[in-house]
Structures are given as structure tokens and as C-alpha cells.
């Protein structure tokens, strides 16, 4: 088994002219040289941040970034396939896509109480959902995390779940945050929207406004860390299970992680939708009291 993996490693070595190995082979190799130091000890490979695989003209290409690009390319290819087969009488693929779109659009129209707004925000919500979903699910493919490449003397995984990198989740959170706030300003007008947060009508309202402002900014953190935490924790859990019992035990855990990956995609998209709805709601002001 290890022999085959070593062959595969040399194949990758030819391709990328860099040292490529597989985690299992690496572990057994390291076990042989355990004396070399704590760094090389076999064990669970847990790193909080995405590691740099290679450097492109000063730009660090991390393993998560590679997966992100793969996800993007796959999704665009999928979109292209669907569009090229688009017809008035739908095929199976088109029918599925239409069912999903129609369902999401109806739900959005219900939530936003406006078909027009639902149409406007549909691309964003759908892209968030599809991107997070596909990115999370791709991370379960064999090879993600187990194919190692040599970078600056250390063996690092070539691929890593995109959402297990805070850069990716934070980028999504920033986009969601900006869209939510800008939508509020555009729909309500700047002063009305700002009046939701800076309100001098009474001390209570002032404090409530400040708390809301803080919770709005807190969304950046909650959005990014929720997704990152779920995916990263899932990876660690599976890695630990693999370390203890390599066969069968990880199966239910992975099944659960597949579910979590889907749920997180839904949660991210839905929360974005709900916060958009919150930001465009009229401030409940004086008439309520």
C-alpha cells in the first residue's frame, strides 16, 4: 500500500517538480524517524490556518485558496452546462435547478414581502448557498488533506476545505455585511437607516440603538466564525476519529459532516436573507410608544 502511494508521490513529483507525498505514507515514514524531533512525530495534523503551498510572485497560494478556485471553476462549468441545455421543456437537470430556484425565490419573496426585492437579491443568496455547499462537500473527496506537498521544507496538504480558512469565511461575511448595510441605506435612506442606531429620542432608545449597532458589526464575526468553526471542527473530529480507528468509525461522523456542510450553507444564505429583511424594515419608532 505504502509502495503504491510512494509511486503516486513520485508521479506528482514529476508533475509539480516538488516533493509530493500522502499523509499515510508520510506518517509511517515519520514513525520511522520519530527520533528526529517533535515536529516530525506522527499524529493528527491540525493547523488553525490554511498553509501556503507555493508562492506566486509574492502572492501566497494557500491550500484553501486552491480549493476555492476549484469550487468556483466547477460551479461555473456546471452553470455553463445547464445553460447550454436550457429548453422550454426541461430535462432532468434543468427541472432540478428550476425546482431549487423557484423554491428559493418563493421563500425569499415571502420573507422580504416583495417579489421585486426577492428577484434582486436572489443571485447573491443563491451564490452564497451554492458556493458554501459545493465548497463544503468537495472537502469530503479523498485526497483533500491527505495529499501532501513539500513547501519550504515542511510537508503541507495540497488541498484544504475552503471554509476551514478564516480568510474565505471572513470574505463572505464582509460581502454579506456590506450588502446588508448598503441595502438598508438604499431602501430606507441614509438618515432613516442611521436613525435606527443613533437615536436620541430617549436614553433607552439610545442604548438600544448602540447595542443594535454593535450586534450589526458583530455579525461579521458571527458569520465568519460560525462557518469556519463548523467546518474546521468537523475536520478535526474526523481526523481524530481516523487516528483512533481508521476504518468504519469515521463513516457516521462523515455522514454527519455532510449534513453539517449542507446546513451551514443554508444557514449562511438564510441569515443573510433575514438580515437584509431586518435592515430594510422601517424603524419602529415613536408611533409604537
Amino acid at each position: 500500500m505504502t509502495g503504491a502511494l510512494t509511486h503516486l508521490g513520485s508521479f506528482f513529483n514529476m508533475l509539480f517538480s516538488t516533493n509530493v507525498a500522502l499523509a499515510a505514507a508520510e506518517a509511517s515514514e515519520n514513525a520511522g524517524h520519530a527520533a528526529e524531533g517533535a515536529e516530525a512525530a506522527p499524529g493528527i495534523h491540525v493547523v488553525l490556518k490554511a498553509e501556503e503551498v507555493f508562492n506566486l510572485a509574492g502572492f501566497p497560494i494557500t491550500n484553501s485558496l486552491i480549493m476555492t478556485v476549484i469550487t468556483t471553476v466547477l460551479l461555473i462549468a456546471f452553470a455553463y452546462t445547464v445553460r447550454s441545455k436550457l429548453a422550454m421543456i426541461p430535462g432532468k437537470l434543468q427541472a432540478g435547478v428550476e425546482l431549487l430556484f423557484q423554491g428559493v425565490l418563493d421563500y425569499m419573496a415571502e420573507t422580504l414581502e416583495s417579489k421585486e426585492l426577492a428577484r434582486k437579491f436572489f443571485p447573491l443568496i443563491m451564490t452564497i448557498f451554492l458556493f458554501v455547499l459545493v465548497a463544503n462537500q468537495l472537502a469530503f473527496l479523498p485526497g483533500v488533506g491527505s495529499i501532501l506537498v513539500d513547501h519550504a521544507g515542511a510537508m503541507v496538504p495540497l488541498l484544504r476545505a475552503p471554509a476551514a480558512d478564516l480568510n474565505m469565511t471572513l470574505a463572505l461575511a464582509i460581502i454579506a455585511f456590506l450588502v446588508i448595510e448598503i441595502t438598508g441605506v438604499v431602501v430606507l435612506g441614509f438618515f432613516k437607516y442611521a436613525g435606527k442606531y443613533v437615536n436620541f429620542s430617549s436614553p433607552v432608545n439610545f442604548v438600544v440603538g448602540i447595542i443594535e449597532l454593535l450586534s450589526n458589526i458583530g455579525r461579521l464575526i458571527s458569520f465568519s466564525f460560525r462557518l469556519f468553526g463548523n467546518v474546521f471542527a468537523g475536520e478535526v473530529m474526523i481526523a481524530v476519529a481516523l487516528f483512533f480507528v481508521a476504518y468504519l468509525l469515521p463513516v457516521p461522523l462523515m455522514a454527519f459532516e455532510v449534513f453539517v456542510a449542507f446546513i451551514q450553507a443554508v444557514v449562511f444564505a438564510m441569515l443573510t436573507l433575514f438580515f437584509i429583511k431586518l435592515s430594510i424594515m422601517e424603524p419602529h419608532g415613536d408611533e409604537a410608544h
Binding site: 490554511a50 476555492t68 468556483t72 461555473i76 445553460r83 443563491m126 451564490t127 471572513l170
Partner: protein, 148 residues
């Protein structure tokens, strides 16, 4: 804060890369997937609405045509009835007229015949009177001759 960002590997370059990546994906999916699919959905919805509307107007038209046909049939029936009854009336009056005429003619013919018979009888009487007179004259002459 710096060490926290470092611990999570936050890098402005990577963050920007991820933002650009999502932006590209967003634009590509919007143009390649959402717009065409939405257009197809809209077109189909419009087509279905058109179809339903067409069916409604068609059934309305059919109902109207049915009504029209019924009306026409009813009109034709009453008209036919009228024609038949008027024809019957006409036939009745004609019949009585013809009968009256025939009766009149028969009466006239009878009267004519009677008159002619009466005339013939009168003529015969006159003729016979003349004959009787002549015979009487002859007889008288004979008697006179014998007595001579």
C-alpha cells in the same frame, strides 16, 4: 490583535483573493445560470398564462356558439311552426272557398238544368198544344168532309 489575526492566518492578500473569487463566481453564475433560468421560468409562466387565457376564451366562445345555435334552432322551430299553421289556415280557407265555389257551381248547374228542363217541358207543351190544335183541325176537317 495582530497575533490573533496571524493565528487564524488572516492575510489581506488572501482576503482580497477570496473577495475577488466570490465576485467572479457571483457575476458568472448570474449571467450563466440565474438570468437564463429565470428567463426560461418567466417565459414558461407567460406561456402557461397565455394558454389558460386562450382556453378560457375558447370555452367562452364555444358556450356562446352553443347559445347562438340554440337560439337559431329555436327561432327556426317557431318559424316553421308559424309557417305550418299559416299554411294550414290557408289550406282551410282555400278548401272552404273551393267547396263553396263548387257548391255554387253545382247549384247553378242544377238551376240551369231545371230551367232548361222547364223550358223544354214548356216548349213540348206548346208543341203538343199546336199539334193537338192541328189534329183537332184535321179531325174537324175530316168530320166535315164525311158529313158532306
Amino acid at each position: 490583535m495582530e497575533s490573533l489575526l496571524d493565528a487564524f492566518g488572516i492575510d489581506v492578500k488572501l482576503l482580497l483573493a477570496q473577495l475577488v473569487n466570490f465576485g467572479v463566481l457571483f457575476v458568472a453564475l448570474t449571467w450563466l445560470l440565474y438570468k437564463p433560468v429565470m428567463k426560461t421560468l418567466d417565459e414558461r409562466a407567460a406561456k402557461i398564462a397565455q394558454g389558460v387565457e386562450d382556453a378560457e376564451t375558447a370555452s367562452e366562445k364555444a358556450a356562446q356558439a352553443d347559445e347562438n345555435a340554440a337560439k337559431v334552432v329555436k327561432g327556426a322551430e317557431t318559424e316553421a311552426e308559424g309557417i305550418v299553421s299559416s299554411a294550414r289556415d290557408l289550406a282551410g280557407t282555400e278548401k272552404s272557398r273551393i267547396m263553396k265555389e263548387a257548391e255554387a257551381r253545382a247549384a247553378q248547374v242544377a238551376a240551369d238544368a231545371e230551367a232548361r228542363a222547364a223550358e223544354t217541358a214548356a216548349k213540348a207543351l206548346r208543341d203538343s198544344e199546336k199539334e193537338v190544335a192541328r189534329l183537332a183541325v184535321l179531325a174537324a176537317e175530316k168530320v166535315l168532309r164525311e158529313s158532306k
